[in-house]
């Protein structure tokens, strides 16, 4: 008789119990809550939801930084009496041309003092270019990425989305996954704005027609005030920021005395002081509330506002006021976001996919079960029992691991059903051959399991390699598929080599057949 080690029986029993307990929640109504496991987590393609891949345009941050370095250099050059022309930022580098190239050395020293992370280039004609060195550039980009992630998280949390995933990917990408969101448009709108807000004085000395013709006074810029139209009303605003949106600590949508939706604001201590000073010094003048380069409104200051709170009115509906308040509470993004990829699945498609996938899986299981019995008789029954345990074990492990089941994952299970019996097919064919060569049943079965082992391992390793490559390459649904496939390889090997073998051996020792009918 073939000896079966006790530990194998023990392992098999434990595995079957585990498989039943942990896969059961997938088949039972959710009211049965005394079981330890949860049903397997469904991917966005099955439960519905939105997958957004965003890119942080951190070039903007670099340009802002170089812009401010140029400002500093300007001041220093002016102090030292160095003349220059043609100053500006192009392609992540600042540049200027010295009027007198002989001052080059002095200019270079001053620029180095202004910012030590600069790489400065000076050619014979007096053209200077400034670039951030690679360490500084990298630091800036990374901090832009992590700040963006933080702001995105706050904005999405404010919308009340359940269990969002917000992950950094690579150097400049952020992956946002929003389960159960069926209207991602609002979230996309919220993420589409950097929401940089500040308060600046309106340049009332400037003439609008002159500015429109391109002659804007130095220190001011031409912006457009929102009036509900696409274009807006031109308005000239000073560049100097009076109070920055960074000083906000609260924002909420409210209805004002005229029954109009407005956004009420609260500043921190520094912001309150600056806002108080600004309004005290400028009573009777207009100031502009600028959001992402557009003027929301430009009211006249009627009286000093010392308390650190204020209201902004504008062309709001209650919804846009709420969204603006949300954006202000969550803070500004350091750089604009670009949506590189969106995949949104509505709940009805998800439900249909689950139903179709489950049905296909069940039919696949049934067909394979019938085929195995038709081909291998009683041995087929053993393989079928092993297959049932296999599927339960696979679901149980996926549930226990907290892995995500996706639609391709369901296809992976159906495929596993088809391929899982392969190991048993290999074994049974071998037993059949050995029997034909005249071996006794015991010897044929023993040799069959032993001899088929090598081919089974080789065959499964190749599937595992494919699964690993899939996991490497894939995102979301494809990864779920790869995980299902890889777990399937292990459960399949276990079930065909241990469970089906135990069943066959038990049958063998009970009936002691003289002739094997494989």
């Amino acid at each position: 008789m073939i000896h079966v080690p006790r530990w194998q029986i023990a392992v098999a029993v434990i595995a079957v119990v585990f498989a039943i307990v942990y896969s059961a929640p997938n088949f039972l109504p959710s009211s049965v809550s005394w079981l330890p496991g949860d049903p397997v987590r469904l991917g966005l393609d099955l439960q519905g939801g939105s997958h957004l891949l965003l890119r942080v345009d951190s070039d903007v941050v670099l340009e802002e930084r170089i812009e401010s370095v140029l400002d500093e250099i300007r001041t220093r050059f002016r102090g030292a009496g160095i003349g220059y022309t043609d100053i500006g930022v192009r392609q992540l580098a600042g540049g200027l041309t010295l009027t007198d190239p002989a001052q080059g050395e002095q200019a270079q020293e001053l620029a180095e003092e202004a910012d030590e992370t600069l790489e400065i280039d000076l050619d014979a004609s007096g053209r200077m270019t400034f670039r951030l060195d690679s360490t500084a550039e990298k630091e800036l980009r990374i901090s832009a990425l992590s700040q963006s992630q933080e702001v995105i998280r706050r904005r999405i949390d404010e919308t009340g989305t359940n269990e969002p995933t917000i992950q950094r990917q690579g150097d400049d990408r952020i992956l946002v996954q929003l389960p159960g969101v069926d209207d991602p448009e609002r979230i996309k709108r919220l993420l589409g704005q950097t929401a940089k807000m500040n308060f600046r004085m309106v340049d009332e000395t400037a003439s609008i027609p002159e500015a429109l013709a391109g002659r804007v006074p130095p220190g001011s810029e031409l912006l457009y005030e929102d009036d509900g139209s696409e274009q807006g009303i031109p308005i000239v605003v000073r560049r100097r920021v009076g109070v920055s949106g960074d000083n906000l600590v609260g924002a909420a949508p409210v209805i004002d005395q005229n029954n109009q939706p407005v956004v009420s604001l609260r500043f921190d201590a520094a912001g309150a002081r600056r806002f108080g000073d600004l309004t005290t010094e400028n009573v009777g003048r207009r100031f502009a509330i600028v959001l992402d380069g557009r003027v929301i409104s430009a009211p006249v200051i009627r009286e000093p506002i010392p308390g650190g709170s204020g209201q902004i009115s504008g062309n709001f509906t209650f919804e846009t006021a709420s969204d603006l308040a949300l954006l202000l509470r969550a803070g500004a993004l350091p750089a604009p976001l670009v949506i590189l990829e969106e995949r949104t699945v509505g709940p009805s498609l998800g439900r249909d996919s689950i139903a179709a996938g489950t049905l296909a899986g069940q039919v696949a299981l049934l067909l394979v079960i019938i085929y195995m019995v038709a081909v291998y008789g009683l041995f087929g029954v053993a393989a079928d029992i092993a297959l049932a345990v296999n599927i339960a074990l696979l679901l149980g492990i996926l549930s226990a691991l907290g892995a995500t089941l996706t639609l391709p994952g369901i296809a992976g299970i159906a495929l596993t059903i088809g391929m899982a019996v392969d190991a048993n097919v290999l074994i049974f064919e071998r037993i059949r051959e050995e029997t034909r060569r005249g071996r006794s049943p015991v010897s044929a079965i023993d040799t069959g399991y032993r001899q088929a082992l090598r081919a089974i391992i080789d065959a499964n390793v190749t599937t595992l390699i494919a699964a690993l490559v899939l996991f490497q390459m894939g995102s979301g649904p494809i990864r779920g598929f790869a995980v299902t496939l890889a777990v399937g390889v292990f459960t399949t090997m276990f079930c065909s080599l241990i469970i089906s073998r135990l069943l066959v051996l038990t049958w063998l020792s009970r009936t002691r057949p003289q002739v094997l009918k494989v």
């Binding site: 891949l53 991602p184 995949r343 509505g346 179709a356 097919v425 051959e433 080789d458 190749t462 494919a466």
Partner: protein, 314 residues
């Protein structure tokens, strides 16, 4: 009565057919390459970029009505297709010029045109868009993944068998991949990330089949040291034929269930798999094993393997 697709002690003369098989395969490979160059692959939005919207419109409009909704939207080429139910439509919009941000804007345009034509009753079952950056990444990633899988298989077979086996297996593998790409060219089925996943599985499956045959070849080389290689190969193929066919049948049964019942999203994937598995089964029998004659297996150097131990233990 047992179902037996392959009778016991089958002795098909496979090896003598190898020239025909190779000519057939070379013709199929060349045809696939020509089709690929002439027609090309119908890349889905994963690889080409663009927008895909699946909508359910309860008032059951005609395809032409849905198409009409996009008139004057300025979105370039818009393809409408009925999808599953008669209320469901798949709208494909070509990749918008103007980089990643332009796709997002086009989705909004498309939604507003649908809303104008059919009101609020339109249900968005699926909205996907892929910008140029990601589609290029995905295409590159997919190509690298398939190459990586083939190389990994080559290394594994080199490690488990000897060089001739590794080359034979890889030729069979590349053959399967090329023929699958060929069938996607001629049918015009959408080639997307799921198709690449199917290709990787086909690579795995084809390898799986080949390994089983090779394992038997190795065993028989030790057992029949005096027999000529072509007879050993023919014998090994026949001995494993029943297993090869049975496993292929169970896998195709499962995939058949997926193709018929799994819903439109997994249909193309299942089709690719069925084709690949059929081709893979053919190539393990008719290419991978006979190729060992071409690449030349070293005889007599076989080390005593687990077989010898197995004999002793039994």
């Amino acid at each position: 009565m047992r179902l037996r697709l392959i009778p016991d002690d089958t002795t098909l003369q496979i090896i003598p057919l190898r020239r025909h098989a190779m000519i057939g395969s070379v013709v199929a490979i060349v045809a696939s390459a020509v089709l690929y160059v002439a027609i090309g692959l119908n890349f889905g939005i994963d690889f080409r970029g663009g927008i895909l919207i699946e909508v359910r419109i309860p008032e059951v409009p005609q395809v032409t009505e849905v198409r009409g909704a996009f008139e004057g939207a300025g979105l370039g080429e818009v393809a409408i297709q009925e999808f599953g139910e008669e209320t469901d439509f798949l709208v494909r919009i070509e990749r918008q010029p103007g980089g990643d941000g332009a796709q997002q804007a086009a989705v909004e345009t498309a939604r507003s045109h649908l809303a104008a034509a059919f009101g609020d009753a339109v249900e968005y079952r699926r909205v996907e868009f892929v910008g140029p950056t990601v589609s290029q990444d995905l295409l590159r990633g997919g190509a690298i993944a398939v190459l990586l899988a083939v190389v990994a298989m080559l290394l594994y077979i080199m490690f488990r068998f000897e060089m001739a086996f590794a080359w034979g297996a890889v030729v069979a593998l590349v053959h399967d991949v090329i023929l699958t790409i060929g069938v996607f060219s001629i049918t015009g089925l959408e080639f997307n990330v799921a198709t690449v996943a199917a290709l990787l599985l086909i690579v795995g499956y084809s390898m799986n089949d080949t390994v089983v045959v090779y394992d038997r070849v190795r065993e028989n080389l030790r057992k029949y040291k005096k027999t000529s290689l072509d007879l050993v190969l023919n014998r090994s193929i026949n001995e494993t034929l029943s297993r090869t066919v049975n496993t292929t049948v169970t896998t195709i049964l499962a995939l058949g269930a997926l193709i018929l019942l799994g819903g439109p999203v997994v249909q193309d994937f299942s089709f690719a798999m069925i084709w690949g598995i059929t081709v893979g089964t053919y190539s393990s029998i008719f290419l991978a094993a006979p190729l060992l004659l071409t690449f030349g297996v070293r005889r007599g150097a076989e080390t005593p393997g687990p077989k010898a131990e197995g004999e002793r233990a039994a």
